[in-house]
Symmetry: C2
Subunit: 412 residues, 2 copies
């Protein structure tokens, strides 16, 4: 590996939950360094630190108030500062030259939307200077800084985003995401014992998988795709090879038809019946949900009959009560009934191979029917077909689809 | 109070040890705000946070290494970021406009001596902008930033220093230090029940008191004196009036002869006997102690006899074994014997009134003799006489001096 090549490695909170694990990861990093790589390490907060800090903020805000997001951002950012400095201390004790950098020091500039800021630019000046000095860099993930000098956080999975953004800004050879899973599987191994670890996967497939239940942050994959940063997802505890997420390299020319069967069992369904079918009614329903910070996923509207229509949409299970309250509160929607069901699941088939080939939907529906699984809603994209099924049928559905599309056998 | 007047208030770690205490202090701050003051609040880390972080750093550094000071500084600085943001969250929940600022954001520029950086300048631009916007400012104490953008800490008592420096930079009317004592006493009330709280005290007297055992950071008092910042020391739990530290205002024209009797029972004595009395021998002894980070306080050298001399000096009790080892290791000092005694105490009389009046030393020695206290070492400054006595005689010494100089009766 030449002196110019840079590798970014990201370690999640469970990998560095206490001083002992931090030292284990530190010696792993030192081994990579001795193998010749220029390393930029991005760390999350240790273990449950972020949740603990959020609870502390809630207690301090008292019964009345929601804590101010700007203040919460600085508060939460301390979690990654602690883990970054401790990692630097551990690596230094093993004899390597190392320096920790906050988001501000690492040049992670963001917009000023506190709590879920988007990275606007990475100024790599200091990163380069420290790398040129021969140091291992430890960057506090999940955080950035506004033009004003205020600290922001990047929202859920933000440390992955930091890692990919830094890799893009430095032109790194690869961004390695070390986590408590050892790669991307064809389906959830807890539900489908035959699920198989993928050696590689394309960005767009991974993006669909991530949004449909695979444990990855979609934003970081999007960023990786835009800047063509090859991303390796691997275990921080074992040395097993992980899954490489990358663009259309030659080995992927012959694409698998179906790459994976992501399953999300954390889905609730809201049905609004007897809605007057006139312009603006969808906006009147969904704008207040967005204002309440409730993410709506699948939306289905049935064909209108007698000027009345039914709308069904899904939200995360935890949001079902709030979503029901908001939907029932919309007097201008004039619906006859609003009901909710928290026990749904989302089962999808994902693969770029289905793009120009007909028949995948039919095969999916046939496989589900044979397994006795009832489909409640259907939605599709170019490389994905998603069915909403009852939660207690999710496992049967995933197993049936995994077998029907022969995912237990490697295609490549 | 006019719109222009600014008051800086500093709250120590025990005053804000948990969310409940933070909310108590927050409502106190809101009351001050409603009374019309423009407020800059400086906070320490909550309770034992700093000690917990130091332990965590030690565990992570492992058996081999002392943790890197630059990394420890950023690590420790998170303690004050947490308390500053929580305080802002509490105040905001009570309806006041408020913003927290890190040392970096507050413009606290320091030299780059990690672990005990000195403030080189305070850039008040952002502080002024936020004050002009009508906000209460919460500044994370104990920390600053180097020209490079690296976080530093200011060493022991650093939050007091932050508070006084900010008060000086903003031309604040007063810097109020809220702590777990309710003011400065004529002597340690645990040893001398007649000890009386002082309503006011001059900077130089306070500086001597602070260096001799009173619970205050000498650096902050020095800074207050240089920039003429009136400092109020008061209880963060009670509303009782505290002690005002200030310069030579009219009410102090008639100075007390003696202001206080500070006592420090944390003293050890090292004696080096039979030292060859030639140039450079003192340097050969004390330079290695300084290099080892051991603070030497009182130094006494007896008159030389036969080209040999005895040197005695005091160090903090915790340092006695290390100091002994360093002193015994000095082959070039060629001493016949090095002994240590960890059970000493330092009892002083302090007062600007003694400056041009003879006889105070004689009165002090007479009072100690009458109380049966043996004096082991003596050292003086213009406004102070200090005696080193045995630790078990410190209380008798302090009580005798407190009575002899009539400190139980207010002079003003």
């Amino acid at each position: 590996m030449s002196q110019e090549q840079i590798i970014v490695q990201k370690f999640g909170g469970s990998s560095i939950a206490d001083p002992i694990r931090i030292r284990e990861v530190a010696s792993r990093i030192c081994r990579s360094r001795l193998a010749g790589a220029n390393l930029v390490i991005v760390v999350s907060a240790m273990g449950n630190t972020t949740d603990d800090l959020i609870r502390l903020a809630g207690e301090t805000a008292g019964a009345d108030g929601a804590p101010n997001l700007r203040e919460v951002d600085t508060l939460l950012s301390t979690g990654e500062l602690v883990s970054a400095t401790l990692m630097a201390i551990a690596i230094q004790s093993m004899g390597q030259d190392v320096v920790s950098l906050s988001g501000t020091q690492a040049g992670i500039r963001t917009e000023s939307t506190h709590g879920s800021a988007r990275i606007s630019a990475v100024d790599p000046a200091r990163l380069r200077r420290e790398l040129d000095a021969g140091r291992i860099l430890i960057v506090a993930g999940f955080q950035g800084v506004t033009e004003m000098g205020d600290v922001t956080t990047l929202g859920r999975g933000g440390s992955d985003t930091t890692a990919v953004a830094v890799a893009a800004a430095l032109g790194a050879e690869r961004c390695e995401i070390y986590t408590d899973v050892d790669g991307i599987y064809t389906s959830d191994p807890r539900l489908v014992p035959e699920a198989r670890k993928l050696a590689e996967i394309g960005y767009e497939e991974m993006l669909e998988m991530a949004m449909l239940g695979a444990k990855m942050n979609p934003r970081s994959i999007e960023l990786g795709a835009v800047y063509s940063v090859p991303m390796l997802v691997a275990s921080s505890f074992a040395d097993a090879p992980g899954t490489l997420i990358h663009g259309g390299e030659p080995t992927l020319e012959v694409r698998r038809a179906i790459t994976g069967i992501p399953v999300d069992r954390n889905v609730a369904k809201i049905t609004v019946r007897g809605v007057k079918d006139r312009p603006g009614v969808a906006a009147a329903l969904f704008e207040p949900l967005a204002d309440a910070g409730i993410s709506v996923d699948v939306i289905v509207q049935n064909a209108s009959a007698d000027g009345l229509t039914d709308m069904t949409f899904t939200v995360a299970r935890a949001d079902v009560q709030r979503a029901l309250a908001v939907a029932r509160d919309r007097s201008e929607v004039e619906s006859s009934e609003v009901t909710g069901d928290p026990d749904m699941a989302k089962v999808s088939v994902v693969g770029t191979g289905m793009q120009n080939s007909p028949g995948y939907a039919a095969r999916m529906f046939r496989a589900l029917a044979s397994a006795g699984v009832n489909i409640e809603m259907i939605t599709t994209s170019e490389i994905r077909i998603t069915c909403i099924v009852r939660r207690d049928q999710a496992q049967a559905a995933a197993q049936a689809l995994h077998a029907a599309f022969k995912l237990d056998k490697a295609a490549d």
